[in-house]
């Protein structure tokens, strides 16, 4: 942050600054054998409208990083700045607001609400954030091919269908930062590609920053940039 942080300067910085900035991020998990470090000083930035693929072996810490960026978990040290706001220093309530209004997350395991219908799930986060827009919702539903499924419950959908609902839910709120954890991990190659194309389309349409974790080099190649997580550090490729 600049030394002369006047409001004007801050505003200027905000427009020019990246959407997401991660600095010296450390995270370890306690285990019976002591704390096991997973991230050991991760640095990267992501501009608005840009997309970044995060690859790495299973267990390398991709989900961990995504959860930290998504303000879902606490880091040991380091800084995460989203849209000029240091997430790592926010209160619990402010972080909840950040998740609600700024971030959209597509979880590896979808995390749909089982007692709500597909239609209700799609609009849920947008309603929470007070940003429900029927026209946008309708467009999303149509483009994701969910129109005929709106009255069903998640458990009555196939994996790919659930995945599309999860993507729709994250985008319905028009997030400034979209995070996706293996969004096509549960899908066959063809469906995965179709869903991916759709997601990228929508990302372009909303102009949000997009960070995606994936195993697949093929998918990673479709994003603007890619980085690889190895031994707790990022290696640019």
């Amino acid at each position: 942050m600049s030394i002369d942080a006047t409001p004007e300067n801050l505003a200027a910085e905000r427009t020019s600054a990246p959407m997401l900035r991660v600095e010296r991020l450390h995270k370890s998990y306690p285990t019976p054998q002591g704390r096991v470090p997973v991230l050991r000083g991760v640095d990267f930035t992501l501009a608005a409208g840009a997309s970044l693929a995060l690859t790495g072996e299973s267990g390398s810490g991709k989900s961990t990083l995504l959860h930290l960026v998504g303000a879902l978990d606490d880091a040991d040290s380091g800084e995460i700045v989203i849209d000029g706001v240091a997430v790592t220093r926010l209160s619990e309530t402010a972080r909840a607001a950040m998740r609600r209004e700024t971030i959209g997350v597509v979880f590896q395991q979808f995390n749909l609400i089982p007692s709500l219908t597909v239609g209700e799930n799609l609009g849920f986060q947008a309603r929470l954030a007070g940003r429900y827009n029927p026209a946008w919702q309708e467009e999303l539903t149509a483009r994701l091919g969910l129109a005929t499924l709106a009255a069903r419950y998640p458990e009555e959908l196939s994996g790919g269908q659930q995945q599309r609902v999860a993507i729709g839910r994250a985008l319905a709120v028009r997030p400034r930062l979209l995070l996706a954890d293996e969004p096509t991990g549960n899908l066959d190659e063809a469906t995965g590609d179709a869903v991916m194309a759709l997601a990228l389309d929508l990302v372009a349409a909303t102009g949000c920053a997009f960070l995606m974790a994936t195993h697949s080099e093929r998918l990673a190649a479709r994003l603007q940039r890619r980085v690889r997580l190895e031994a707790g550090l990022l290696a640019t490729q």
Partner: protein
């Protein structure tokens, strides 16, 4: 606000998918509230009636003056007080019999009554007040009393002694079971000319205690409005018992609520996490959950209070009869409950729901957005759970021991029972886990091993329902044992106490003298034994003093708990007394001590030579020599007698006497009739307890059913892998049933010793404190068997639907378990 509302919507959507779970929750809360508020309704009803009795005359809250020695005093004293300007209003009370019913006659002087009195209020209606004085006068009775007597307004019934009452008029504020008349009329009806039973202080402001002393000396004693009512005091323990059982039922109901809400919480855990991940802050989450509980409370609490009304309505006749026959208390038989009762029922529902949900709310407050669910974490959590249960149980046991060591009386008795129940309930899952672990070790076949291992995972889900079952079973054994023991003791005691063949009450002492003289000439009548009685108060408690003549009837049969060797000779030769068990306990009296008994003259100082059981009598009782009774108590009523008759001649003698003496005998009954009457009182007293017990058992059955039903979805996930590996659905369903039955059997095994402990506590602590008598401790193995069978049946029926559903579940549904695994 917006977030809270949408969160609430997401939470509530859960019930749409699981109406069974919702029904259980609502049902549990409704049942708990119903049982509690039902009992409270009964208590409130009774208290209102006592208050009505106390308030009808004075308008409530007035102090009264009564004879220091008890009994009646001369009207002349009142006249002197009035002349000296002490503003008091006279009252004479007594009982008459009208058409086989006991009716209280209350004589008042309406002109001098306090203004707030409902009777005085009638002063404005001059026609009525003129009626009250002139001509035949008027008698005011509650509409209920008129119904009970089968009379309508304007009727002029006769007492059994042939006195005619003034025309009756309905007055809603009149106490049930009483007729209010002018004091002169009362003196005539009760045959107490020139006598009064109390004076109501009209105006506390101007009342001058010094002047009272000056005129009345210490002939009169001031009584505060609260302890005025012996009735409230005597019936206290009855109501406390009722409250305790109501509370127990409430607790069992709360177990259901706790289990059902806990289950809903577990089922919604993933949703709660997702909500947190989507940006719902903890305060909003908790606010939404609290809203949900509030709505549920309103619905279930409302239904519960209505149910409570129905329960009270159903039990009221028994309560009314038992209070009437035990204490002579008249309770209105129409439920009339005020807003306070409805609100307190709802409040209790809210408190119960909050209690059941509190731990989950705090958990939700700290819920992380990410779950770290690990399959192996179950084991650690399970052991932590068992350790915590054991620790809490130990704590409860220590507290129970503390209550036993340091506590005293009724409250400590109930505390011991409650804590022991709690400790046993808490330790039950630990016992179950131990039994299953042991069984697993000896199991050979893989499916059996899985059965036991899987059963351990079931414990935490079912434990609350099983605890409720355990408590209900133990209560049934405990109370059942107490009641059965009491019944046996009571029967034996009645036989010993009711040796004489015929009992009668003469209309007046003069009539009694006539009958006595005649009886001595009758060859059929071996002996006529006067049982004259006087009233006194010792240590603030009402005590009846009864006379005894030296006779084999007593010396050979009269049951004694403790006595000096020379008890019977001493009783008749010296100033000696037999004391009832209740009185002995209350005043800590022992054989050999002396007791000062206030009489209408000088005190009687008597040596205690025996203690006798006097079950079912809320008042204290003393037995002294008949001659001494007549000497010391000039106000003794000399109208009660018993006759020793050749058993074959009983009917003939009674018929003979009725024909010969007619109205001179107010009441004559044979031994069998007295016994039936007493046993009837006994049965009624415990009818309510038994009904509550049964309800509690039913509630626990519902709890088990509810838990099993809601768990059955989770069970599917556990069973699917075993099914996929080659076990048939039928086999798995059979195993499910076997497991539930085994759990119930363990609960029953726990319940027996616990129930025995409860019986002991009831007999040795609670009854002694509540009623003043101690019963011998009996065991009834047949009863244990019945209760165990009930437990197994309850488990069987509770498991039937879930198990059948499981046996019929389609393979595609089992497969879905795999596709939805998260």
């Amino acid at each position: 606000m917006r977030e809270t509302l949408w969160t609430l919507a997401a939470l509530i959507s859960h019930w749409r998918r699981r109406p069974g779970n919702l029904a259980t929750l609502v049902l549990g809360l409704a049942i708990a509230t119903a049982l509690w508020s039902g009992v409270q309704a009964l208590n409130a009803q009774a208290r209102n009636s006592y208050d009505a009795a106390a308030n009808a005359i004075s308008g409530g809250g007035a102090r009264t003056l009564v004879a220091s020695r008890g009994g009646l005093f001369d009207q002349e004293l009142f006249v002197r007080l009035r002349r000296a300007g002490v503003t008091v209003s006279p009252v004479l009370e007594g009982a008459v019999r009208i058409g086989e019913k006991n009716i209280r006659i209350i004589g008042v002087e309406p002109l001098s009554l306090p203004r707030r009195s409902p009777i005085a209020d009638r002063r404005t209606r001059t026609d009525v007040i003129e009626d009250f004085f002139s001509g035949p006068g008027r008698g005011f009775a509650a509409p209920q009393t008129l119904r009970r007597l089968d009379l309508s307004e304007g009727a002029q019934p006769q007492t059994e002694r042939g006195q005619q009452l003034p025309p009756l008029a309905a007055l809603a504020e009149a106490p049930p079971g009483a007729i209010i008349v002018d004091i002169g009329v009362a003196q005539r009806l009760l045959d107490r000319p020139g006598k009064l039973s109390r004076l109501v202080i009209v105006d506390e402001e101007t009342f001058d205690e010094a002047r009272l002393k000056l005129i009345a000396g210490d002939a009169l004693r001031l009584v505060a409005p609260d302890d005025d009512s012996d009735l409230a005091r005597l019936t206290d323990s009855f109501h406390l018992n009722l409250t305790a059982f109501g509370f127990l039922a409430f607790l069992v109901g709360l177990f259901i609520v706790h289990a059902a809400y806990g289950l809903a919480f577990e089922q919604r855990l993933a949703t709660l996490r997702t909500l947190r991940a989507l940006g719902v802050g903890p305060p909003h989450l908790v606010a939404a959950m609290a809203c949900e509980i509030a709505v549920l409370t309103l619905i279930a609490g409302g239904a519960g209070v209505l149910g409570g009304h129905a329960i009270a309505q159903a039990l009221l006749p028994d309560v009314v009869k038992s209070l009437e026959s035990l204490y002579g208390a008249q309770i209105s038989d129409r439920l009339a409950l005020d807003a306070r009762w409805w609100l307190s029922g709802l409040a209790m529902a809210g408190a119960g729901a909050a209690l059941a949900a509190a731990s989950r709310l705090t958990k939700a407050l700290r819920l992380p957005a990410l779950s770290f669910a690990r399959p192996m974490a179950w084991r650690g959590a399970h052991h932590r759970y068992l350790r915590r249960q054991a620790a809490l149980a130990a704590l409860a046991l220590v507290a129970a021991a503390g209550a036993f060591g340091f506590g005293e009386g009724l409250a400590s008795g109930f505390a011991i029972i409650g804590l022991a129940l709690l400790a046993a309930a808490l330790i039950l899952p630990v016992g179950l886990a131990g039994a299953l672990a042991l069984a697993e070790r000896f199991a050979r076949r893989p499916l059996t091993r899985w059965f036991f291992a899987d059963g351990r995972q079931e414990i935490s889900g079912l434990s609350l329902a099983l605890m409720a079952l355990l408590i209900a079973l133990a209560t049934n054994i405990g109370v059942g044992g107490m009641v059965e023991g009491f019944r046996q003791t009571f029967d034996r005691w009645l036989d010993a106490r009711l040796v004489a063949e015929v009992y009668f009450e003469a209309a007046t002492p003069a009539d009694a003298r006539d009958i006595e003289a005649w009886a001595r000439t009758q060859p059929d009548i071996a002996a006529i034994l006067p049982i004259w009685r006087a009233k006194t108060r010792i240590g603030g408690w009402p005590v009846d003093v009864l006379g005894m003549t030296p006779h084999e009837t007593y010396t050979a049969h009269f049951p004694l708990i403790d006595a000096t060797p020379d008890v019977w000779t001493a009783l008749h030769a010296q100033d000696a007394v037999l004391v009832s068990e209740q009185l002995a306990r209350r005043l800590s009296l022992a054989i050999g001590e002396t007791l000062d008994i206030p009489t209408s003259g000088r005190d009687l100082r008597a040596r205690i030579v025996g203690v006798f059981p006097d079950y079912g009598n809320p008042k204290g009782q003393l037995r002294i020599d008949h001659e001494r009774l007549t000497r010391y108590f000039d106000d003794a009523s000399g109208v009660h007698y018993s006759l020793r008759v050749d058993p074959g001649a009983t009917t003939r003698v009674i018929a003979n006497m009725q024909q010969r003496f007619g109205g001179k005998i107010t009441r004559i009954v044979d031994q069998a009739e007295v016994k039936t009457l007493s046993t009837d009182i006994f049965e009624r007293t415990f009818a309510v307890t038994t009904a509550l017990n049964t309800l509690t058992l039913i509630v626990s059955g519902v709890a088990l059913f509810a838990s099993l039903l809601t768990l059955s979805d989770m069970r599917r996930a556990r069973i699917a892998p075993v099914w996929a590996l080659g076990a048939t659905r039928r086999k798995l369903a059979a195993l499910e049933m076997a497991r539930v039955m085994a759990f119930a059997a363990v609960a029953a095994a726990f319940a027996i010793p616990l129930g025995l402990f409860m019986t002991w506590s009831l007999v040795a602590i609670v009854n002694v404190a509540a009623f003043g008598w101690r019963l011998p401790f009996h065991m009834f193995p047949a009863q244990w068997l019945v209760v165990s069978c009930i437990a197994l049946c309850a488990a069987f029926f509770a498991a039937l639907i879930p198990v059948v559903r499981l046996a019929r579940v389609s393979p595609s549904e089992l497969l879905r378990v795999f596709s939805n695994e998260r």
